[in-house]
């Protein structure tokens, strides 16, 4: 298949020398799943179309990018798997979403558009925002949908969103928060649905361009990756500066004054794959946690570039192996003696909270979870 040859070229799959490091590193394979990145690379190089069907195993990949980091030949497997998923999707192979495809449907409906979303109810009167035009755009992501969809997990991803706006206000910024924002399309893109992703990308890029914003801040690691990398071809003129909320906080740190406190809470940080390995942002969340009074940050055994994924990428896979990865990771977090597991991506929170619901292990792996912004906003004077 010519598409496979092209994919091999674009992702350096051709450079693979069969060392098998990717499969050895793969969290799914390590947890015992019959998943082998190496097999997909090999099949791509050999031009075997079977790799595209492959019983849907392509969708088991967490796209955590751990194998990319370990590959001695710099094969970009994560990119390859995305390309293969696109081909797969074209053939009608769809991931078996653990949520019955509900979230994919929501994203596609947003791509179709036509309605006025009622996504702004979370915005309290104490938060100052602009509806249309302004210097800084705050990209909320789909946190309101997540809180509505996962009431049984007691996720509070909107708290992170509120905290981010509060912090921006404290720093003297009144961000644009638009009711016309739509899903960034991250998950559709990684599910192989490029058509709907492009619809979303075009809408969102135009929305932000029309706002006149010079800077876009977001709390979601996935939105950040999508804006920074995947929206690239859709920008006209100079794109806004796109930064994560932790980068914003680190930049504006002197604007904040904190309550004085003698107590110290031990916290640990979960590096989201998109923020860390995909974008190389490791320092800013750590700077923020180090400077925050009343907080002592300890690292987990595997952190930074080696951090373990929350095992729930792109709503396309959730099985016993994913659960095992989550439980292992939560054990690691508990082993640090931390009281709070801090994240910088709403998805990490959702997936870990789900794992904590394990009726047998609950007590052993339970840990409070907070968004970085929530922690910082909570310490404000």
């Amino acid at each position: 298949m010519p598409e496979l040859a092209k994919a091999a070229k674009q992702t350096r799959a051709w450079a693979c020398y069969d060392c098998g490091k990717c499969t050895a590193t793969c969290p799914i394979a390590r947890a015992g799943g019959a998943y082998s990145p190496r097999r997909h690379v090999l099949a791509t190089n050999l031009g075997q179309p079977s790799v595209i069907g492959d019983n849907g195993t392509l969708f088991n990949c967490l796209t955590c990018s751990l194998c990319d980091r370990r590959c001695p030949a710099q094969v970009n497997y994560t990119e390859l798997v995305r390309k293969l998923r696109e081909l797969s999707y074209r053939e009608g192979v769809e991931p078996e979403c653990p949520h019955g495809g509900a979230l994919q449907s929501v994203m596609r409906m947003m791509a179709t558009g036509g309605t006025e979303q009622r996504r702004m109810d979370w915005l309290g009167a104490d938060l100052k925002t602009e509806p249309k035009k302004g210097e800084v755009f705050y990209w909320t992501g789909c946190t309101m949908y997540y809180d509505a969809f996962f009431p049984d997990l007691k996720v509070t991803t909107l708290e992170g969103t509120r905290a981010a706006v509060r912090l921006m206000n404290t720093a003297g910024v009144t961000p644009v928060v638009s009711a016309e924002e739509r899903c960034c399309g991250h998950d559709l893109l990684w599910n192989g649905d490029r058509k709907n992703f492009e619809l979303l990308a075009k809408h969102n890029v135009k929305l932000v361009a029309d706002s006149g914003a010079k800077m876009l801040v977001t709390s979601c690691a996935e939105c950040l990756r999508t804006w920074k990398i995947d929206y690239e071809p859709f920008f006209e003129g100079t794109p806004p500066q796109i930064i994560h909320i932790t980068e914003f906080l680190a930049q504006q740190w002197t604007e904040f004054s904190f309550k004085t406190t003698n107590s110290r809470r031990r916290v640990t940080f979960q590096d989201p794959c998109r923020l860390g390995r995909h974008l190389g942002i490791y320092d800013s969340p750590r700077q923020v946690l180090a400077a925050l009074p009343g907080v002592e940050h300890v690292e987990m055994r595997r952190s930074g570039p080696a951090a373990m994924c929350c095992a729930g990428g792109t709503w396309s896979n959730c099985d016993r192996f994913a659960k095992q990865i989550q439980v292992e990771r939560l054990r690691e977090a508990r082993a640090t003696g931390a009281e709070v597991l801090v994240t910088a991506c709403p998805k990490c929170q959702i997936h870990f909270r789900c794992a904590m619901k394990d009726p047998k292990l609950g007590g052993e792996i339970e840990i409070e979870m907070r968004d970085v912004a929530e922690l910082v906003a909570g310490a404000l004077k």
């Binding site: 019955g100 449907s105 179709t112 979303q117 309101m144 969809f149």
Partner: protein
């Protein structure tokens, strides 16, 4: 059945242009509401025909993904139905259904779809007349709301708007 086999009598009460009729998806549990529809049929109770029925074993099976997929594919309304409380063949399946339905409703609201496009009803196997009544009422309600704006069947929505405009032109 299509709108063509509608008797002229029933069409007269229709407020929207007759060129558009709603597409409704009805989820029904095997033991009660599906049998209720059957009862309506064998009792020859007349009701509006603009729905397609999807049978599931229990209303507890109807997760948000089902309903949202229906809307994504262009349904103008979705009716979820099951046994009355205490009657579920699997004891508490319909209690699960309520939880799932609440979630679905919240998401549908966020998306900006009208709440009237989604309904939950309990219909027993004996309630053929009630089935027909619910269907008629819900169909009228959805018809009043017009085509779903999220409808992937944009064409039908456009033809609806066109006929609405031409009607207004004719009237003025």
């Amino acid at each position: 059945m299509t709108s063509k086999n509608l008797s002229p009598k029933r069409q007269r009460g229709v407020t929207s242009p007759p060129s558009w009729e709603p597409s409704i998806v009805v989820f029904a549990c095997n033991w009660c509401s599906y049998a209720g529809a059957d009862t309506a049929g064998v009792s020859r109770i007349q009701h509006q025909p603009h729905f397609r029925m999807i049978r599931v074993m229990c209303s507890g099976r109807i997760q948000p993904g089902f309903v949202l997929r229906a809307f994504e594919k262009g349904a103008d309304g979705v009716l979820v139905s099951g046994c009355h409380f205490g009657d579920c063949h699997y004891i508490f399946g319909n209690e699960r259904a309520v939880e799932q339905f609440e979630k679905t409703k919240n998401v549908v609201k966020l998306l900006g779809l009208e709440e009237g496009r989604l309904r939950l009803e309990w219909i027993s196997a004996a309630e053929g007349a009630r089935f027909a009544e619910v269907i008629n009422e819900f169909t009228d309600q959805v018809r009043k709301l017009g085509p779903s704006k999220l409808s992937a069947r944009k064409l039908s929505a456009i033809s609806y708007q066109l006929s609405a405009i031409s009607q207004r032109v004719r009237r003025s």
